[in-house]
């Protein structure tokens, strides 16, 4: 056991690490949760969208510069998500949701290979702009700026925007009403299928955005999708299906605790999320912020 040799600096390091990781987890999980909670479908290709966002960033940065690349990558993934929903997800609405899970799983396989075909098997690097490369000093500690500060701030801003969108805009109201009573909303003249496409697009955009932001600090390779998707599921389970705050708390919790596990028993780092999930299932199966009976 390494407990004896841990000092405060290490703990702080891992804490910051955990928060950063957590923020990315939140973005990805939020996208999935929006789709899952509002439409009741799971997109197993969500991880692939994350990955495509990262790869697009890699390709676009030399062309457009860093910031436009990130925005563009996210938007492209969002639009692609809309197309994906229209072409493949929509036909399955009448069927059990398991079939959407399976179809998106199959497509995830396809996407992974397409990525390999276009960008090759080896990992690619995305360089962050020089301006963000220098570490920043806060309270006597040196923190890598991009990873630990910038990312956290940007994610927080995005989360605030999403919250505003869902809770304070007309579109948000329509979406939330539509998921509770699709018939009624249709009677009111609102195009529910278009709403669903929009929601799917928003969720996918968040995944793509997360991938784009993650690109400079992660190895971008074809396994990225499968690495992230299961973890995203775990966060959703822990936080509660469809819950905005669930994604936030779940993501942070798992991000921080996983990082902490690095200090306690490194081989179990990946298992941390699952352990938390197991506990949640025993104590509160609906998740921390989940709605009762949604899928029980």
């Amino acid at each position: 056991m390494l407990l004896a040799s841990i000092n405060a600096a290490q703990i702080l390091d891992q804490l910051v690490n955990g928060v950063t990781l957590g923020m990315l987890y939140i973005l990805v999980a939020l996208g999935l949760n929006i789709i899952l909670g509002l439409m009741g479908v799971i997109n197993f290709s969500h991880g692939a969208f994350f990955m495509i966002g990262a790869y697009l960033t890699y390709t676009l940065v030399p062309i457009t510069g860093f910031w436009p690349a990130i925005v563009l990558a996210a938007v492209i993934v969002g639009l692609f998500g809309c197309l994906f929903e229209f072409a493949l997800v929509r036909p399955l609405y009448r069927r059990l949701p398991e079939y959407t899970l399976l179809m998106t799983y199959g497509m995830a396989l396809v996407f992974a290979q397409v990525v390999r075909r276009i960008w090759g098997d080896d990992a690619v690097r995305v360089d962050m702009p020089a301006a963000l490369q220098n570490p920043i000093t806060i309270g006597g500690y040196d923190l890598p700026f991009y990873k630990d500060v910038f990312l956290v701030i940007v994610t927080a801003v995005i989360l605030a925007l999403v919250w505003l969108l869902i809770n304070k805009t007309n579109i948000g109201v329509i979406i939330r009403a539509g998921t509770r009573d699709a018939e009624m909303v249709k009677i009111l003249g609102i195009n529910m299928p278009a709403m669903f496409t929009l929601v799917f697009g928003i969720g996918s955009l968040l995944a793509g955005l997360a991938g784009a932001l993650a690109a400079p600090i992660y190895a971008v390779q074809p396994n990225l999708a499968s690495q992230w998707i299961v973890l995203t599921f775990v966060i959703v389970i822990v936080g509660g299906i469809g819950s905005f705050w669930g994604a936030i708390v779940g993501g942070l919790l798992i991000g921080i605790l996983s990082s902490m596990m690095e200090l306690i028993y490194p081989p179990a780092v990946e298992l941390t999320g699952f352990l938390i999930m197991g506990l949640i299932l025993l104590i509160r199966p609906r998740g921390l912020f989940g709605v009762e009976g949604l899928f029980e």
Binding site: I42, L88, P91, L92, L96, P97, E98, Y99, L101, L102, M103, Y105, G106, M107, A108, L109, V110, A112, Q113, V114, R116, R117, S226, V230, F233, V234, V236, I237, I241, P267, A268, E270, L271, F274, M277, G278, L281, L282, P285, L294, F295, E296
Partner: protein, 361 residues
């Protein structure tokens, strides 16, 4: 007893006998090449059939069934090779073991234990896609254990050099031959599938079907639905376990792939391909899947994409799979079959005119 030998099992037996002659590429060359695929198909036929007990017969998608395959495979490997374990300071040594039945017992035991534990945790608390997500997540736990605890499980490379067992009354190296191993595997698989057939056709199986069709009504009829779901889950782990046990001896090496998401997804595909509502479906699906994979992977290194596309097609087209198609052909004849596929009206007409029981054989 007579029922046991009615069509689906007969089909299965016949197919198993023919398989070594047709599996793989060239039917003119009778070499190790095909039977290798044949044995793989058998292991996965078991694996997929166990999975499909839940998916096709209860209506629940367990998206992590590979964990049971892996537990059995690793247990067999560790039992056969021997191991040293250091659990929180307590050392434990196991000598290499040659008794394959003991290996099977251990494999089944551990698989059942894990399956029972999970069933108790997961089943009463979830259903639908939530259930699928959770089973997937737990499977990843097993996957990570096989991957990370390298001292014990061999890590990424896994365990090699698993000695094939000796069958009583036969020379010690009889099972070394691919053909012989196939024969052994075919018999084991057939007997195990016969057990599955018995389960599906029993009153227990009927209740599972009722649960699949209308869970609530089953409850109101007086069935303790959750108890059936738990029992079905536990039973469903037996078959991948036997498959995993065979797999370890057949491959003589195993690695974390055995418990991967890919394998879990593969058996879903096999079941959909063959037809989830039929007994023979998953078996057929396993055979076709490996044929496809074998063929396509020789043509392109992106074969997984093609597998993915086939998967998506079968998801969109429907769960009755090839067995369902064959059944439609049998019922409606070729001309009607083509009419139905092309015209939705034709389908409605025939559905109203024919009132035949569904294909659950």
């Amino acid at each position: 007893m007579r029922r046991v030998f009615s069509s689906p099992l007969l089909w299965t037996a016949v197919v198993f006998v023919i398989l070594p002659f047709v599996a793989g590429a060239n039917p003119l060359h009778y070499s190790g090449g095909f039977i290798d695929i044949g044995t793989t198909m058998l292991c996965f036929a078991l694996f997929a059939s166990g999975f499909n007990l839940l998916f096709g017969h209860v209506g629940e998608l367990s998206f992590g069934h590979a964990m049971f395959f892996a537990i059995a495979a690793y247990t067999t490997a560790l039992y056969t090779k021997g191991f040293d374990l250091n659990l929180f300071g307590f050392p434990y040594h196991h000598d290499p073991g040659g008794n394959m039945l003991l290996a099977l017992a251990w494999s089944l035991g551990l698989t059942l234990l894990w399956g029972w534990l999970l069933a108790r945790i997961i089943v009463p608390r979830s259903s639908g896609i939530y259930y699928s997500m959770i089973t997937l997540a737990f499977a990843q736990v097993i996957f990570f254990i096989t991957y990370k605890f390298g001292d014990f499980t061999g890590g990424e490379d896994g365990l090699q050099g698993i000695a094939r067992p000796q069958l009583p009354g036969l020379p010690a190296d009889w099972l070394q031959s691919s053909l012989h191993f196939y024969i052994f595997a075919a018999i084991v698989t057939f007997l195990t599938l016969a057990l599955l057939y018995w389960i599906i056709e029993s009153p227990f199986g009927s209740v599972l079907h009722a649960i699949r069709e209308n869970k609530e009504r089953a409850r109101f009829l007086g069935y303790d639905v959750n108890k059936y779901r738990v029992n079905a889950f536990v039973l469903s782990t037996l078959f991948p376990a036997v498959g995993g046990w065979l797999w370890a001896y057949y491959q003589t090496s195993i690695n974390p792939d055995a418990g991967s998401v890919a394998y879990s997804g593969d058996v879903v595909m096999m079941s959909l391909l063959g037809g989830i509502y039929s007994f023979f479906g998953p078996v057929l699906g396993a055979i076709i899947y490996w044929e496809m994979q074998n063929g396509v992977s020789q043509v392109t290194k992106f074969w997984e994409a093609w597998i993915g596309i086939v998967f998506v097609v079968f998801v969109l087209v429907g769960p009755r799979g090839i067995m369902g198609l064959l059944d439609d052909l049998r019922r409606y004849g070729i001309s009607q079959f083509v009419r139905r596929s092309v015209s939705k009206d034709a389908r409605m007409e025939t559905d109203l005119a024919e009132e035949l029981p569904p294909v659950v054989h």
